[in-house]
């Protein structure tokens, strides 16, 4: 447990009044974007911007959640999301406790619910959970009294990732309404895709899912999402491309013949940038496979907002923690 009590930090009253939690916000947990309304999503985005500014663009701390404890409970490898949540908690003055374990609970002999209850018994106020099995945050929310934040449950949802992607787009384009956003790659196994789809649709964007037919289900059309198997065909219409990582580890039978063929069809390279709208935004949730989903020139090029996404991640997570824990503070 880390507690940097040496720093005397206070929150200016002006910021506190800006961050008043509206009565309409009644969520204890953040499990996904599917069940949030557009105004709730906008509230998180707005507060993320306020908190980002209030921490001097992330370089100072507030005491909004002083005395509160956030536990990171990661049952799957993660560095960026875990660190992002930790930093977000610390910038709001909360203490953090880290718990990592890989593999399923069957292998360990303790159910993950018991593990979570053990952590909760250390008097934490929120549990940030990542797990390879969909629904684990929902199960925890039924068994724990504290707040539960989904940091990725298998291919189901990764709400803070969806929110930070949307925030990044909003910062560049002002509004999501009317924009065409394509999610490219492994849609089937991507929690980022699902959270993006819910959030983008609610905020009025047009969503295209694009990738090999083995990874892009036709059923998405029932939600009003366009399904495409050809990046080249949709490219001229897109305002934003979100290039999802191919999750080799989740697939029993390879859904495409080779990485070489995948890059031929779906990798974003300079040549494809040339055929895109001039102001196209290139996003990737990371970790990126350079040379697979996108070439280094594109990743590091002028259209790429990949590192802004990372910065926005902390802002979104601060806003999430504040909205879930702030009322009690």
């Amino acid at each position: 447990m880390s507690h940097e009590s040496g720093l005397a930090v206070t929150t200016p009253q002006a910021i506190l009044s800006t961050l008043r939690i509206p009565d309409t916000w009644n969520h204890k947990h953040l499990l996904g974007l599917e069940h949030l309304t557009a105004s709730e999503i906008n509230l998180i985005l707005d507060y993320a911007e306020v908190l980002h500014g209030a921490t001097s663009n992330g370089r100072s701390k507030l005491d909004l959640l002083k005395g509160r404890t956030v536990a990171n409970l990661f049952f799957e490898n993660s560095t960026r999301t875990k660190n992002s949540f930790s930093l977000a908690a610390k910038r709001l003055g909360a203490d953090t406790v880290e718990f990592s374990s890989s593999g399923s609970s069957v292998a360990k002999g303790e159910t993950f619910i018991d593990t979570a209850k053990t952590i909760e018994a250390m008097l934490v106020d929120a549990v940030v959970v990542r797990h390879s099995s969909p629904g684990t945050p929902h199960m925890l929310s039924n068994h724990l009294d504290c707040s539960v934040i989904n940091a990725g449950d298998g291919p189901h949802e990764h709400p803070t990732q969806g929110l930070l992607d949307i925030l990044t787009i909003r910062q560049h384009r002002g509004s999501l309404s009317g924009l065409t956003v394509a999610l490219v790659g492994d849609i089937a196994h991507s929690r980022t895709a699902r959270s993006n789809i819910w959030g983008l649709l609610k905020l009025g964007a047009k969503v295209i899912v694009c990738g090999p037919a083995t990874l892009v289900s036709k059923h998405w059309e029932k939600l009003g999402v366009e399904v495409s198997y050809s990046l080249d065909k949709i490219l001229p219409r897109c305002d934003v491309l979100n290039l999802l990582r191919i999750q080799f580890e989740r697939q029993a039978i390879r859904p495409f013949p080779s990485v070489h063929e995948y890059t031929l069809l779906y990798a974003m390279n300079q040549e494809r940038i040339g055929r895109s709208k001039p102001e196209i935004l290139i996003m990737a949730p990371g970790p990126i496979n350079r040379g697979v989903e996108l070439t280094p020139e594109v990743a590091d090029g002028p259209h790429s907002v990949i590192l802004e996404q990372v910065t926005n991640g902390i802002a979104i997570r601060m806003a999430t923690l504040w909205l879930l824990l702030g009322r009690k503070a």
Binding site: E34, S104, S105, V106, T111, F112, I113, H131, S132, S133, P134, G135, T136, H138, M139, D153, G154, P155, H156, E157, H189, R191, R194, S217, H219, W220, K222, L223, A252
Partner: protein, 432 residues
């Protein structure tokens, strides 16, 4: 005369699927057998026990072809004693116990074990199903002749599909010699492996691994073709897709002899229930989408589906507390199946009582070649009394089953089994 196996049940609605009878009357049971219908007072023994069953239905005891307990090997899920008590509470007077135990029932000795344990429990009748393949491994035939000799009523690899087509063909040919039915759970595992729920929009939203409908359709199609080729006897234990129903309908129209069954969950529980991520909704066949449910209900109505089974598959609490990917398949259903049929098939007018009892009692008895499914005079008095209008709340912890894994916990159902009689002996009385 055995006083405890003679009864006069009065004012009951007597329903007998074997004769099509459905009327109010009185039923005389003497010495464990049905002895008379509307017997005049003068012919009724003076001190016989009388039951006034006004407003209730008296029907032949239910017979289940898809019950799993776990004993031997998984007594933490269900023992033969707790499971057969649950069966009685649900109106079942006989169950054919799945071979899916640890070890699986693939030797004469293990068949003997099941039969003796069943007899000792002295609840409902317990018939043993023997394995089709040694160790349920799907590689080579179990010693089917010995299993039958020891009393196996039919052959089944339990919830495991007989994946190897050549083995299934051999099994159909070989079991024919003993006039025994082969049970197959139709599923092409290479299409469904790792799957957790029905493939479709709901599954896509939840990000759970898919079990596609065609994994079942293809197996059903294959099985039907093999029945035709071998003339073997086959029971499809658990169809759940519109494709399977249509394949069975066409096969029956062409005169192919087989039976098809459905688990009660697949009659009314929709894949949208998986939104709760409740591991109790993780079953195999998976809860399907509404279009498949509608097709199955139509298959029940038009007679394409012959048998409704409980699909009772208990799992101890700690197993179902696991992540949904890791949790085992199955839900308990022996104590709710009849009420589910009342609530979702009989009350909405899809099946008559007589048709429902045909699928839950008479047809299973015929398939096994056992007595049952009838109120005929002279036959063993296996029957139950149910109040069809009585509403009750499912409380999983109050059920007789050792496990609690039912997503119906907290739901209200119609139709409460009041008493169950096996060979005339009242073996179950509900606390009401």
């Amino acid at each position: 005369m055995y006083a405890d196996s003679s009864w006069l049940i009065e004012n009951a609605r007597l329903i007998d699927p074997s004769s099509g009878m459905d009327r109010i009357g009185r039923l005389l049971v003497m010495n464990g057998r049905f002895a008379g219908m509307d017997t005049p007072d003068g012919d009724v023994p003076e001190h016989i026990q009388r039951i006034d069953a006004a407003g209730c239905i008296v029907a032949p005891g239910l017979i289940d072809l898809a019950t799993e307990f776990g004993e031997p090997g998984r007594e933490e899920d269900e023992t033969i004693v707790t499971g057969t008590t649950a069966a009685l509470a649900g109106g079942y007077t006989a169950i054919a116990l799945s071979s899916n135990s640890e070890p699986p029932i693939d030797t004469a000795a293990s068949v003997e074990f099941i039969r003796q344990k069943g007899a000792r429990a002295d609840n409902c009748k317990v018939y043993a199903l023997g394995c089709v393949s040694k160790g349920q491994l799907g590689e080579s035939l179990a010693e089917i002749g010995s299993l039958v000799e020891a009393g196996a009523v039919a052959l089944s690899d339990g919830p495991r599909p007989i994946e190897n087509t050549a083995l299934l063909r051999r099994a159909l040919e070989y079991c024919g010699m003993f006039d025994r039915v082969v049970f197959d759970h139709p599923e092409i595992a290479s299409l469904s492996r790792g799957g957790v729920m029905h493939e479709g929009l709901e599954q896509l939203k939840l990000g759970l691994s898919p079990i596609p409908a065609e994994a079942e359709d293809l197996a059903t199609s294959r099985d039907l073709r093999l029945i035709e080729a071998t003339g073997g006897r086959l029971h499809l234990t658990s169809i759940s897709t519109s494709g399977s129903v249509e394949l069975c309908r066409r096969a029956k129209a062409r005169g192919i002899q087989f039976t098809s069954g459905i688990f009660i969950a697949n009659v009314h529980m929709c894949d949208t229930m998986m939104r709760s991520f409740d591991a109790n909704c993780k079953v195999n066949p998976p809860l399907r989408s509404q279009d498949h449910i509608d097709a199955c209900v139509e298959g029940l109505r038009d007679g394409t589906i012959d048998i409704i089974s409980s699909g009772h598959r208990p799992s101890s609490l700690e197993k179902k507390m696991l992540e949904i990917d890791a949790a085992p398949f199955g839900m308990i259903a022996l104590e709710t199946a009849m009420a589910q049929v009342v609530t979702y098939l009989i009350r909405p007018g899809i099946l008559t009582w007589c048709e429902a009892l045909e699928k839950m009692s008479l047809n299973p008895a015929k398939l096994l070649g056992k007595s049952g499914g009838t109120l005929e005079i002279g036959k063993a008095a296996d029957f139950f009394i149910i109040d069809p209008e009585r509403r009750w709340l499912v409380d999983a912890t109050a059920l007789q089953s050792k496990s609690y894994n039912t997503p119906l916990n907290g739901s209200e159902l119609f139709g409460l089994v009041l008493s169950t009689f096996v060979a005339g002996r009242r073996r179950w009385t509900a606390k009401v």
